[in-house]
Every structure is written in structure tokens, then in C-alpha cells.
């Protein structure tokens, strides 16, 4: 390995920071989904990086990353259909407008 573990972890931290920025600033529901995807990918990168740098070769990290990717796919499908339903009801994708549960 020419690269070190710390470099992958730093990239992952940068992606996490960008994702947190997107989640806290954006009010567009689709952009928030982008931010969530970026955070999930940062977590997957961490899983694979730490698994590669185990003292002995072990396939557990890669297996867990595969599970994580599959669950993220399910989450995106449900999230996008929720956005479609909300768009149909409110004719907008601004989450500040989705307030019928707010009372």
C-alpha cells in the first residue's frame, strides 16, 4: 500500500463536513438527499479503509460495506418517493413548505 490510512480518513472527514453543511443549509429536499448520500459514502469509505488496514486480511469490512450500499439504495428509493408525494401535495420541494404535521 502506497497510501496511508490517515489520508483516506481525512478525505472521509472532508466528505462528512460537506454533507453536514448541505443538510444544515439547504432547504431543497432533493439537495438534502444528495447531502445524505455524501455522508453515507464517507462512512462506506471509512469501513473499507479500516478493513484494508487490519493486521490480518479479513473480509468483514467489505461485506458490511456491501450491506450498507444495499440499504442506502433502499433508503434513496423510499426518500425519492416521499419527495414525489410531497411535491404532488404542495407543488414545491422546499422543506419549509412541508408543514402539515407542524400543527
Amino acid at each position: 500500500m502506497t497510501n496511508e490510512l490517515i489520508e483516506f480518513v481525512l478525505v472521509s472527514i472532508a466528505l462528512l463536513g460537506i454533507g453536514i453543511y448541505g443538510l444544515s443549509v439547504k432547504r431543497n429536499a432533493i439537495r438534502m438527499l444528495f447531502a445524505i448520500e455524501i455522508i453515507v459514502n464517507a462512512a462506506n469509505l471509512n469501513l473499507i479503509a479500516f478493513a484494508r488496514f487490519m493486521p490480518e486480511a479479513h473480509s468483514g469490512g467489505q461485506t458490511f460495506a456491501l450491506f450498507s450500499i444495499a440499504i442506502a439504495a433502499a433508503e434513496v428509493a423510499v426518500g425519492l418517493s416521499l419527495i414525489i408525494v410531497a411535491y404532488r401535495l404542495y407543488k414545491n420541494i422546499d422543506i419549509a413548505d412541508f408543514r402539515s404535521l407542524k400543527g
Binding site: I18, I20, I30, A57, A65, I69, A72, V78, S81, Y87
Partner: protein, 171 residues
Amino acid sequence: MADALFLALSVLTIGAAIAALELRSLIYGSIALMGTLGGIAGFFILLDSPFVAMFQIAVYVGSIAVLILFTVMLVKRELIFKKIEDPKRKLAGIGLMLITMVALGAIILDSGVKTITTDSEAVDFRDIGVDFLTYYWPALIAMALILAGSVIGALVLARREDTIEDDQRTD
């Protein structure tokens, strides 16, 4: 030290992530998101996990990004190009991002992660298949059921009710 390929991949991944959130058009934003996901797949290849990299490309770049693109195209034209955010919140968000990055980075740089290196062999991807079908088989079945359930749930949620359709027809 990081090599040139790693640096190029990091610039691609982080730059595309920023572009995905900041580009005015949601369509270009989702294409930039594809760049981020592809960059992560490149990191997986650098980490000797070609199977996960292929899975990432097939699932994320191939299906999720295309699904997002289709959803974006269902949205009204003026909403795609409108940026919805307040400037005050933006400053607070940038502050939060910097605090997160600096704090976590300082903790990680101060910890023992810096000294970890490895000489171990890369995992053979055949071992992953064996793991899936022996030790992790209940989890695999649960995952399959979750995927089926979520797809059916998504279809039920996004289904057009007849009444709504009638309303729109009269519109």
C-alpha cells in the same frame, strides 16, 4: 505519502461533492453527485476492494444517480433552477462544517491512526461470496426482504390516486 492518483481522486471527489450541493441547476448537481460516487469507487479500487468498487458503480452511479435524475426531471422547471436557502443560515452552515472538519481532523491526527500501516495481503473477493452464503446468510435474506419491502413501499407511496388524477385532468 499520498501518490498523484490519490490526490487526483480526492480533488475529484471533494470538488464534485461541493459542486453537487452548490451548482444552481439540480440536473448538473446530480451529475456532479455521480462524480462523487465514482470517485469513492476509485478509492475502493485503491484500497484493493475491486468487488465493492464494481458494486458501488452498479448500484450508486448506475441506479441511484439515474433515479435521482428522473425525479429531478419530474419537478417543475423553475424549481430546478431556484436556490432555496437563507444567507444567514449559509454562514452558520459553513461554520459548522469547518468546526466538524477541524475538530474531527485534530482528534484523528492526534490519535494512533497515523501510525497504522499494513503488509497484509488484499482480501480475495471470492472470500466475500463465501462469507455471504455461509456466515452472513440470515443477514443476506433479511437484506433481500428489506429491499423488496422498500421497493414495494416506494411504488405504493408514489402511486397516483384516481381522485388526484381526475383533479389534474380538470386543471
